[in-house]
Symmetry: D3
Subunit: 109 residues, 6 copies
């Protein structure tokens, strides 16, 4: 669907998508920190698609399970119980990603 | 006002305030990262009082000006132009904090 | 300002304002419960003007201080720390209303 | 998923979950009123999982159908037409709960 | 479900539904403009059911594909990347509506 | 404050500000329609600074008083009573802008 939208000829949307990717690139803050920022923002704004995306990126960047839960705890405190269904989604996705990584690793031995 | 609320005898609110403080203590993630998470969450949810609090804490934790703007950029991209008045507030507070620090340092020479 | 808006000739807005008043009138639920519902909704959506209005109405309806804090605790748990500045405002307004009532009573003796 | 999250070892999240349950226990306000507060907060913040939970609890606490619709009307007025899909969900869940109760009762005769 | 809700006997909800329809009728602003307003409001508040409804109405009112993307761009800029999943939904629905129209037209030749 | 932010050297924020301006330029939709879209989005997201900005622009683009109230009515229906303080602000700003225009015109006679 993203390619459909980008092919629409609307320059504003196209450029926004570019800015969106660039916002998480390495700068004064590292990618890991930025992905955690994206994750917490997504949880408090309660967007499941965005959560899934940032969880995958966080796992790729090597966020530990404890670090992950601490970030979710900040989101839970700031955003309240209304974020709980989204925190469940985040943990589910994280477990799924780690499981996949483990399988890949064990198949490489 | 916080002490007024804490003296109300409502245990739930009292305990929530304690959890709120603990969420930003050092753990698997350092305090600096957690304060940045709190800042971005506050900007996308557009709470000026919370922004002021986390900006002060970020400056105390040594977040660089570039790191600061990168975090605000993530908030701006995720939350949209509706966050701009709050980003202005965050920058204003940061400038004010740094100015104060500079004065303190120069008076110590 | 409300009378300015109602005099604009826009029927939709006028009728909405009427529905807004009627929503808090006595029905299967009493006025006190409905004002508490309005208060909690206003706190989690973080609207200070609405909070002030419903706090005044809650005090008029005889909500006790403990009942008041329990309702605010539900709002705090559901809406998170982002509601804290609004909870402060609610308590401040409640204290102000009760103070006023006490003065009125003591001047009547 | 809740037990998975609670077993993560993150104390903050664990304690928040405890506060969440306690917020709806009997105090100066009764459980029925508190569940109605939770329901209205969930509708205006538009969280379907939370709505389902509080509707079930409201039915268990004996909220009448009229009382139920009056609470939803407050949420609709405060939160606007954007809450309509969630109000549909709430009514659907309520009908489902009542239907189940009726079946249970008639099977006991 | 709407007819179930309207048959509940709650006058407030019934009247709100009437106001909701009337808000998009022709007045000083034409229906097309009002449906675009409804669409952008639905995207920034991130309500998929509302988006689907307003997209269908926009297509019926003859909003061009370019006009459509420009309205979505305003929503994206105001509401940020958190609206992207909803913008995808809007484009998907628009494509679906136009496809249907084309089929109807070609079957009439 | 905007010039302070733009001088920070953060390219992402700078480019976002550019996209923000471009989103309201004439395209398939005219400027007037786009400013109305910006106004309604700002009201339902409840941002007073954004409302002030778009009201001024709407008056400059010749939105009639009736058209203005119809757009606000859409925002009120979609966003609910929680938007009322912001609708008051919008009307106040509109009255102020029109008053200013009238004075300018009468001084030119």
């Amino acid at each position: 669907m993203n390619s459909r939208i980008l092919s629409s000829g609307n320059l504003g949307i196209k450029r926004f998508f570019a800015l969106d990717s660039q916002a998480y690139e390495k700068g004064a803050l590292d990618v890991k920190t930025k992905e955690l920022l994206g994750l917490v923002a997504s949880v408090v704004l309660r967007c499941n698609d965005c959560i899934t995306y940032h969880v995958i990126r966080c796992v790729q960047q090597g966020v530990s399970e404890d670090g992950f839960f601490e970030a979710l705890n900040v989101a839970l405190i700031v955003g309240g119980s209304i974020t709980i269904p989204h925190i469940r989604r985040a943990v589910e996705t994280m477990d799924h990603c780690r499981e996949k990584e483990r399988k890949k690793e064990s198949s490489q031995i």
